[in-house]
């Protein structure tokens, strides 16, 4: 089935000349004082920032950077929480002819050093004391770094290094420069072309050190245009920006799409209040990695377990109705009038409230991408009446290349390519993409570029196929695909997402490539299992202790048995164990976007893997772990190896 995608008449046509700053200037002049470009919740109040304010701020920061010595092509890095200043800094860097680099807010010092050094960053925007401290500790190792700019004055009173400068001072320098050269800002913007590099984006890398993908203005803008052609947004829409800017999905929504449509971008008060703030705003469009939706699912499941009998019944009945209607929709069958009525009842009694609590009540389109999402989670949201769509994409295409269309959603596929994008499957089963958004190459890494870019096609390293309706199905990363005992290929990611549908399981790691059977290492959800243990009056003091309780093993076994259902014999999990700690990005076990680094954990937990394929009942663990605050703890425990009862 092919889709005729309507391109709205007013949609921006993207010429080779158009750059992000040019479009920004045009939009800001068009909307001016009359429209709110972004909002930030501060001191308990949503404070609006108009397009004019946005323009003024960007202008003075850009000129300030020029006056500090920024030249065309210089790299400007940003680190910090989502806040207007972060976006201003990025836009200002682009306007001044610089190249933007984003770092994850929670990057460790070593990661910061690597990226700042590798990208040849000249200016670093940090938010406050924490970021400045990180930057100071690496300053001497990064000779290209000139200035560190901060905007949150809290705790900064005793810092007086001459390479530190506040955002206010930068803007003051900008104002002074404007006095001398009033037209400089416009000239700088007119100077650029669409084919120049706009962003240097570091991919999270499940196997190696991060690679820096070079994205042009044209890459970013065509991406936004094509996505918005599929699901148009209005300039009166609201969007909440709370995911790291260092994730391409957030760039796509805030810059590529946000700028073209002109919707209002809302910033939460603090990361801890994000969920609450989303509810207050009620965004019209949402794009988040699966873990966000997994968290929402878990929240609902846990609240359900806690609710009174009558509320539970209501929820059960309404989700039965929801699932039934969702299944009819998936099968593209008409929904009979009777079921429509029931659906309406379910909506007014349960779903409306539920969606409101999750901040989903106004969402027209919710997207998920960046990692695999389990079909169970996916169906859960459709049963609630949320139009959740899978996307497929990567940093190297400036965002996404494939997406579901409304009314044509299958929970095991990722949909059709967006306009201007071609998808092919190579003979080896690898997914390759060609579109105007395909990136320019990796920074300082010609070998990787050569591997990824061949004749204008982007080689993804993902295995997949097209189904009978032309939907793309993504199987798994090529190197991750398992061969089962019966010789068939198997996607560990699929099993892992199924296991994670249980509210008790936070992370899972499935093992079994070329092995006689499949095994799993699981991380329990401390909060949920802890609550469960409290109710059962089980005593525990810590995660390691709770995870090794026989009762908890029984609980987890039940969850696995459920996930094992309707899977062919060789694909079923046969043995499992509960890990004594949670997997953590700070320990290199996960990437910053929480993808499992399979090769690393396999090496790190070699003993556990061996035990799962041996005939032992326990693995002895004797190790030291580092806490975030620098303390160390010695852990001595025995992990059980459990064989699942058929």
């Amino acid at each position: 089935m092919q889709h005729e995608d309507k391109t709205t008449a007013e949609s921006t046509s993207i010429s080779k000349e158009l750059t992000i700053p040019k479009l920004f200037l045009e939009k800001a002049n068009h909307y001016g004082k009359g429209r709110v470009a972004m909002r930030e919740k501060e001191y308990g109040i949503w404070l609006p920032i108009t397009w004019e304010d946005y323009l003024q701020n960007v202008k003075y920061i850009a000129l300030g950077l020029v006056s500090l010595g920024l030249e065309k092509g210089d790299k400007v890095s940003m680190i910090g929480d989502n806040r207007p200043e972060g976006l201003w800094a990025e836009m200002a860097a682009l306007c001044a002819g610089g190249i933007g680099v984003w770092l994850f807010q929670d990057c460790l010092i070593e990661e910061v050093r690597y990226i700042i050094d590798h990208s040849d960053t000249k200016f670093l925007f940090g938010e406050g004391q924490e970021e400045v401290d990180k930057a100071l500790s690496i300053f001497n190792e990064c000779p290209k770094l000139k200035k560190i700019i901060w905007d949150d004055a809290k705790g900064m009173r005793n810092y007086d290094q001459d390479y530190l400068i506040s955002l206010k001072e930068v803007m003051q320098l900008g104002r002074e420069l404007e006095q001398e050269q009033p037209n400089l800002f416009e000239e700088l913007i007119q100077n650029g072309t669409g084919e120049e590099v706009a962003l240097l984006f570091y991919t999270s890398g499940t196997t190696s050190a991060p690679k820096g993908a070079l994205l042009s203005h044209n890459n970013m803008l065509t991406m936004g245009q094509h996505l918005m052609a599929v699901d148009p947004c209005k300039d009166t829409d609201d969007y909440v920006s709370y995911l790291p800017f260092a994730w391409i999905g957030e760039q796509m929504m805030s810059i590529s799409c946000g700028l073209q449509i002109g919707y209002t971008i809302n910033f939460p008060e603090s990361p801890a209040t994000a969920q609450e703030n989303i509810r207050e705003i009620g965004p019209h469009v949402m794009f988040a990695p699966p873990r966000m939706y997994e968290e929402m699912t878990r929240l609902v499941q846990v609240k359900y377990l806690d609710a009174s009998w009558i509320k539970r019944k209501f929820f059960e009945i309404s989700s039965k109705i929801g699932y039934h209607v969702a299944n009819l929709n998936f099968e593209k069958k008409p929904v009979p009038a009777f079921w429509r009525l029931l659906e309406w009842l379910a909506y007014i009694s349960v779903q409306k409230k539920l969606k409101d609590h999750l901040g989903l009540s106004r969402v027209r389109n919710a997207y998920t991408g960046g990692a695999a999402m389990g079909p169970d989670h996916f169906r859960f949201f459709h049963a609630m009446g949320v139009n959740l769509k899978q996307i497929y994409g990567q940093t190297e295409v400036a965002g996404i290349s494939v997406v579901h269309r409304s009314g044509d959603i299958k929970f095991d596929t990722v949909g059709h390519p967006i306009p201007g994008t071609e998808i092919k499957i190579t003979e080896e089963g690898e997914i390759i993409t060609r579109s105007p958004s395909v990136f320019l190459g990796y920074y300082k890494n010609p070998e990787a570029t050569e591997k990824a870019l061949q004749d204008g096609w982007l080689y993804s390293d993902d295995k997949g196929f097209l189904d009978e309706d032309g939907h793309l199905v993504v199987f798994d990363r090529t190197k991750d695909v398992f061969t089962l005992s019966d010789g068939k290929p198997f996607s560990p990611q699929y099993m892992e997402t199924r296991l994670k549908f249980s509210p008790y399981i936070k992370d899972s790691w499935v093992i079994g490539d070329k092995q006689p059977y499949i095994t799993a290492v699981l991380c329990i959800d401390y909060k949920v299992v802890g609550k469960w243990a409290d109710d059962k009056k089980l005593n525990y003091t810590s995660y390691p202790e709770l995870s090794q309780k026989p009762e908890v093993y029984e609980l987890v076994e039940k969850q696995i048995q459920e996930a094992n259902q309707d899977l062919p014999g060789p694909a079923k999990v046969v043995k499992f164990t509960n890990l004594y700690k949670e997997l953590d990005a700070d320990d290199d076990e996960l990437t910053r976007t929480r993808k499992l680094r399979r090769a690393f954990v396999t090496k790190r937990y070699e003993d556990i893997v061996n035990a799962l394929y041996g005939d032992q009942d326990t693995v002895h663990i004797d190790t030291t772990i580092n806490y975030e605050d620098g303390r160390q703890a010695h852990i001595k425990t025995d992990m059980q190896i459990i064989t699942i009862q058929k």
């Binding site: 001191y43 705790g155 009173r157 209040t273 605050d629």
Partner: protein, 260 residues
């Protein structure tokens, strides 16, 4: 703030005998001593909960012996308690607002109608509470939660917030770190420093604390009390090297090692 020859007896028990203390503006002055040394009694005297039998209390050169606690609060004296004394059923915001109550100037009539002056006043106070206190203490996410539901560490923060709502010039902190975990201690120590050093606040602090690491790091002067008698009042270095202090803490020397 000055205490001059203060003595306080409960029946025949001498809680404080002839104590002299001088707190200079803008400093963090700590009071340490073994349990039962009379530290909290001293705080209660400064705060006005107790009235000493002998001696004088001066605040900004004015003798304030006779003033009640709320009158002293108006002069700019605020305190937190060793065991948190917050209103558990009220929200964080309401608790902090209570601390602000003393600064409301409009009368009962305009208050009842909530017109003109009162409304304006309330908006102004709200700004102060939201923008300065909640932002400083990083408690945005719990603004509307009942305090009783919060973990102890956060309750302590709320209590500090309430004391700050008074906009005090002298803040008495009675064991602000007791019962907190390492991370909470670090946060709280930072807040105390912020309040003391940040231009906006510049609050003089009188700190009673057992955590020697924090006391020695933060304080300009340390006052050591033992069984109602002053042992020494000096800089942290002087105190650490004073043989009598070491004697008073004999067997408790480990205290110096904790969290250092």
């Amino acid at each position: 703030m000055e205490l001059e020859d203060i003595s306080m007896y409960f029946g025949k028990v001498t809680a404080l005998s002839g104590v002299n203390l001088k707190i200079r503006k803008g400093e963090i002055h700590s009071v340490i001593g073994p349990n039962g040394a009379g530290k909290t009694v001293m705080m209660n005297i400064i705060n006005g909960l107790y009235h000493p039998q002998e001696g004088n209390i001066y605040y900004k050169g004015q003798r304030i012996n006779h003033l009640s606690p709320h009158a002293r609060a108006k002069l700019g004296l605020a305190r937190t308690f060793q065991k948190v004394e917050v209103f558990g059923g009220m929200t964080v915001l309401d608790n902090i607002r209570l601390g602000r109550h003393i600064h409301f100037k409009s009368g009962i009539v305009s208050g009842a109608w909530y017109l003109g002056k009162t409304a304006r006043e309330e908006i102004e106070h709200r700004r102060f509470i939201e923008e300065e206190i909640i932002d400083l203490l990083e408690i945005e996410q719990i603004r509307h939660k009942p305090v009783g539901m919060l973990p102890y560490g956060l309750q302590k923060r709320v209590e500090l917030g309430r004391a700050l709502a008074l906009e005090p010039e002298l803040l008495i902190l009675d064991e602000p770190l007791a019962g907190l975990n390492l991370e909470e201690v670090e946060d709280m120590a930072r807040f105390i420093l912020d309040v003391n050093e940040e231009k906006r606040w510049k609050v003089t602090c009188l700190l009673v604390e057992h955590d020697m690491g924090v006391v020695m790091d933060l304080s300009k002067h340390v006052f050591v009390l033992n069984f109602g008698n002053m042992i020494i009042d000096g800089t942290p270095d002087e105190v650490q090297n004073n043989p009598e202090v070491i004697k008073a803490y004999l067997g408790e020397e480990d205290l110096y090692a904790t969290r250092r």
